[in-house]
Symmetry: C2
């Protein structure tokens, strides 16, 4: 039997719960917090005072509410003062951002990349330079409380080792440890699979808010999947579940970087679209947008390319709908643009191959976080420590900064 | 806040926990029960006495232990006295069994079926006749405490309505309610998807005992999937997840009963195998066994048919391995025979299409419950009530019988 938690343990847990509410939902009144947490207002008062003294939240009078009586103070996250570093290693770009408590992107920078093998040392140096430039622009007195990376491949959770990133030619790269050393922020740099992080971001603050059964598909050169079932991310035995980009949708089809043929990402990723559109652009969001624009202007080759890729994407989605019975499939990264330009093909394929009882309820949606669901997911990974033990984590990092 | 449980509630829960241990593990000593449950021996003594008085367990001296001192009495389930009815509606057979507490099949009967549309009334009448014959053979004074059906299609959990059974031509059949009325046992007849139940059975008492991340594939005319991730069955929004048989592995391929083409079950189910082997047998286990026998005797057509079907099956398995990163894939129903005769093809396809980090750890295994994992799963469904509240459930059913 475990002993009952001490009053100090209870206080620490409640501080974390309150901060998570404010972080996820933004400014919220003391009254509403008391209701949601099931504690009385004096407890909220004490918790808020502690968090405010640490500089994690502030309190202010709400706007006009139209209600009589003394208004309940609103608690808001100190977005400018407490932030994390969020990094995104895609097969066609590197991105970096500072993200404030509450989830707002404070500053953001991005470098497009051509594909092929990426040199890990160079990626690390580039991300470090981007990070240092962002930190230099952070508000005076602000505190970095964590760092997270969304990576386009298979990552071992425990230590941030990249097991396999076929589209950038990596295998067994100790990226988490390397980035921690390189950035030297006093916090570990956590690494996660980009689509898994995108799924969590869409469920926390995107189009899938609050859904228990959600599939997020992230496209760039590759296609990754983040699958949430019964409220939990599916990891499988080693945590590598969700590699839907390597589901074969066209046996014997286009060669895939993984060594197989006809994988979903080989048939519906950027390279397939660019080739079908008979273009020579380097892969990347710009290339996809150019093809979508051309199709909208009446370019038949571009339109047919989008329809072909949409049909392949639809085959993959239909399989996933039959396998998972999700309530929503979210298209993110360049799949957002591809889906919007080929929704009829995707939906038609789902109607043909999907079983009625599962397809009749599923909603197909585009990411509500624009191109940044993976980056926001990386920020959430980085915020995990402060949202688990706010005061300890903050004290550690304020100390590290001084 | 919820009030602390009363001593009576605690006793009822502990009775259920003890009975579940004995049901799952078979005869077990009081000492071991005390250790596993984390309670003292006098509590075990009292709980065992209550369960024994109700006729759910008995106690006996163990065999020679070689240890000094008074041996701990062994508690065993009253398998002959407390049983459930387990039914299995496959696309190629109807099966029925009485299964005793502890999971042993007491008596079993089966009727092979040719495929095509099944008349729900006739299925109901046939299963009812099989059930009555089994009950007539049950031990005098024994008690039926539940009934469960494993069904080869999509079933709504709450009310046992068959939403869709493509291979037997059913849609929206209120099978649970109909069977409850027909059998009139004083207990509801619960209905579940056969592959989901098979997965649970293999995890509880089969080759996947204790695994958290397991995929069970059940083959007859169709192929169903039961997917356990993080210890929980994947249901998705409506509980219809796991329809891996309708994952397209050969676009534009063989017509499937669902209306699509090239589905895994159309390419690797019984009908595909029989056709590839150039036979005219009606589908069923006998037909598959005849083809496997012929191949073993050197029949090249039979062997090539098995290899072809194995390759298709391997494609589906590779996709599932990439999507889920399971620690084990279990082949049940006729997929057991098909896998054993084409393991090289299945493994070769998984090696080609599976990503290294996920395929290197996955174990491919055949069902440890022979052809009966779905039937045993149906029994587990039926046992759920008595394993949740043993004395109440038993009292209700003894009363109903008298």
């Amino acid at each position: 039997m475990r002993a009952a938690p001490s009053p100090e343990e209870i206080r620490r847990r409640n501080l974390a719960v309150l901060l998570r509410h404010v972080h996820r939902d933004g400014p919220v009144s003391r009254t509403v917090l008391a209701e949601r947490m099931g504690v009385n207002r004096s407890t909220i008062l004490a918790l808020t005072a502690d968090l405010a003294a640490a500089g994690l939240v502030s309190e202010e009078l709400p706007g006009q509410t139209g209600k009589a009586g003394r208004p309940s103070l609103v608690v808001r996250p100190e977005s400018d003062r407490v932030y994390v570093i969020a990094l995104d290693v895609g097969a066609d770009r590197l991105a970096a951002a500072t993200v404030g408590l509450g989830g707002a992107i404070l500053a953001r920078t991005e470098k497009a990349r051509t594909t092929g093998a990426f040199d890990p040392d160079e990626v690390r140096a580039t991300l470090a330079a981007m990070t240092r430039a962002l930190i230099a622009r952070a508000a005076p007195g602000s505190v970095c409380v964590g760092a997270g990376v969304a990576f386009c491949g298979m990552v071992r959770q425990e230590d941030g080792v990249v097991r396999y990133g076929p589209n950038i030619g990596w295998a067994e790269v100790p990226f988490g440890a390397d980035m921690t050393r390189e950035l030297d922020l006093g916090v570990p740099v956590l690494v996660g699979n980009n689509a898994n992080l995108g799924a969590l971001a869409e469920r926390e603050r995107g189009v899938g808010a609050g859904l228990a059964d959600l599939i997020y598909l992230h496209g760039d050169v590759g296609i990754g999947g983040g699958i949430i079932m019964g409220g939990e991310l599916i990891g499988g035995e080693g945590g590598y579940g969700g590699e839907v980009g390597h589901m074969v949708v066209s046996p014997g089809g286009r060669a895939c970087a993984c060594g197989s043929r006809g994988c979903l990402e080989a048939e519906a990723g950027e390279l397939a679209l660019i080739e079908a559109a008979e273009r020579t652009d380097p892969p990347g969001r710009a290339a996809v947008e150019a093809i979508v624009d051309a199709a909208a202007r009446g370019d038949v080759t571009a339109r047919d390319a989008l329809h072909h890729v949409g049909d392949q994407l639809g085959s993959g989605v239909a399989n996933l709908v039959n396998i998972f019975n999700p309530s929503m499939v979210v298209f993110g990264g360049v799949l957002r643009e591809i889906y919007l330009a080929s929704a009829a093909q995707v939906r038609s394929r789902v109607a043909l191959d999907g079983l009625r009882a599962v397809r009749e309820r599923v909603r197909l949606r585009t990411s509500a976080l624009g191109g940044d669901s993976t980056l926001i997911g990386a920020a959430e990974l980085a915020f995990a420590a402060v949202l688990t033990d706010p005061l300890q984590t903050l004290a550690r990092n304020v100390h590290a900064d001084s």
